[in-house]
Amino acid sequence: MKKTSDFKNYKKEIMGAAHDDRLRLALSRAIKSFRSNVKDALEKFPHTVGMAEEVLKIKEAAIPRMEELARQAIAVIEENKGKGYIAKTANEALEIIADLTGTNKLVVKGKTMTGEEIGLREYLEEKGNEVYETDLGEFIIQKMGSRPMHILSPSIHVPREDVARLFSKVMGQEIAPDSKIADMVAAAREYLRDKFFRADIGISGANVVAAETGTLFIIENEGNIRLATSAPPVHIALVGMEKLVPTLSDAYKVSEVTWRYANYTIPSYVSLVSGPSKTGDIEKETTYGAHGPKEFHVIFLDGGRTRLARYPRLAQALYCLRCGGCLYECPVFAVTAGHFGDKYFAGIGAVWAAIVNEDMEKAASIAYTCLTCGRCRQRCPMKIDVPEMIIELRKLLAEGDPANARD
């Protein structure tokens, strides 16, 4: 049980953040460039707006069928000689992945918010594995011993001088605080290079999954996910069950809308992964484990998602594509970053905290911090009504939750 001073600590934490001028500066720059990038991306590809409406319909239909879609995807993945799992809880997911990983292994990880949600890296480290975050932002966060402050840009709050200092320490080579950002990126590349090829396991998430083919769509720019999911002999993917949609064409639409609202006109890479690596080039005999992984495991995490889907006003939280746009429009986030949040941030984070993670105290803190100003809804491609959810959540907090009468 947590201490009674939770709310006080939380308040202290966000006020500390609000008085941090460097944080504010980093955020105000990020917000400005995000807005102009999204504007640009939507102007170049104006069909995205209509496509977002289609995606909303796809999500509305898919969310109530999450489990069925997961079973469908697992069946196809296993036909293709991969392995699929449904984890009812975060702990189940951790155990499945820990069993697959074993101990004393070298693990390279792509960024996965679902991994953050269940504390995957920490768990694997506890089990005696060496785990490397390979997304640059996550890598910085990992080495700082900090936690992500934005779902897409985890190290949004760290200025370059701090990165230089950190890298100098971690890599044992001096990187001057006034170095070019390109030099810092190159240093990270060099440091991580051999990890990809020495790794026993590569771990990723997925932005969306097509149930009919079991295909994971993974959007990225850095190329670290390509390496992490193709160089090691084993690829393990952890996917929130809400990411499933029925068809490949649905999944494509979800992807395009996601990256565009995430301020990318065109991302450098979209990987489509449906099974382990294979070849039939010698006598047409299918053999697994060519240049890519020999093993492919997909864990679909429920972890409270099907519970959330049963709340009429709150289920819309599951439509979230994790484009991160709402965060850039939140006036509180603009001064506090991820301190206003839990596993997920800002207003919508309260819903995840309350129903998915069942941490009502954290949820209340976030719910009372939301202004209900509604600018996030204005930005959201899924038109998720955060103020409506927050008021509903406050109602559950104040008047009790009939759905949870069993408590």
């Binding site: 966000i14 006020m15 609000a18 603009a334 100003c373 559950l396 104040a398 408590d407």
Partner: protein, 332 residues
Amino acid sequence: MPPGLTYLADNIITSQNILGVTKEQSARWAQKLDIPRQAETIFFAGCGYQFSPQLERLMSLARGVDKSVIGAELPMRFARFQKKLGLNLPGIYSNVLSLNILPGREELKPLEAAIKVLRNLGIQPGYLAEEEPCCGAPLNHAGLQTKFAENARQAYRTLKSHGVKKIIGIVPYCTHAISKLFPLYVDGYDLEVRHFLEVVVEKIPSLKLKFPRKVKVTYHDPCQLVRYLSLVEEPRRILTSIENIELVEPDWTRGEWATCCGGGGGFETVFPELSQVLAVNRASELLETGAEIIVTHCPGCIMQLKDGLRELKVEGVEVLDLSQVVAMAMET
């Protein structure tokens, strides 16, 4: 900055005393206006701009609710939970409510101005004065929907008993509550609710409006008006129809994209300090336009923006309610 930099502090001090106000002092802002009590169309003044015995009633209602929350009526779970968090809901309410009670002399103006504007447009609304029910919006906002629903039904009965058919609202919170939320909780809700801006904008083409001096003004959209009631073009059409007014707006943060002033429904009492940071941020965005007057249309936003300007130590920039600006433009 003109009338008093200690404005907000005074509000809070004064309002705490105001809670003991007598009924004779109620609705004083309207006394010299001689507004009829009985009419099919009434002006709904709300709590934000005025202080009146209704607030006393709201206070006791809110206190009653809080007692019941902490007491037996609601699950023990919540009471435990509240204690754990260190959230003091009764304290929050009384603060919210007292913050909303703006002292007479300063804040009578927007309401008087609004009545004057309506009359100049040939509209003679009634006003229920101390009989005006409270919309109870803070209850909804706090998640106390059951109490909000009870209050809504009571308020509806009161309005009907006075023969009210149409309402012209002005406070964003109240107007949203009586137009969008009441129908969710009151069976057969049949009151036609329009916001002051909608009424005024219709008459704009037939008016000749001139502000007493040449000024650059910017407009701050209250969240409830712009994103809950979709009143985006209305205030702009009104302002740009006034001679001598040049409307200058921030690049991005205008209309539906306007930044909240930081006064979101009680936020300022839970996080007073953070709320002020947000007020300063919003005031800064608006100041970048080079405007000499920040016009808005919400008692909460006015308070926050004035505070923001005060923190920024900005002089020579005023915050005015849109109703005041229109009334001034009718005088010349």
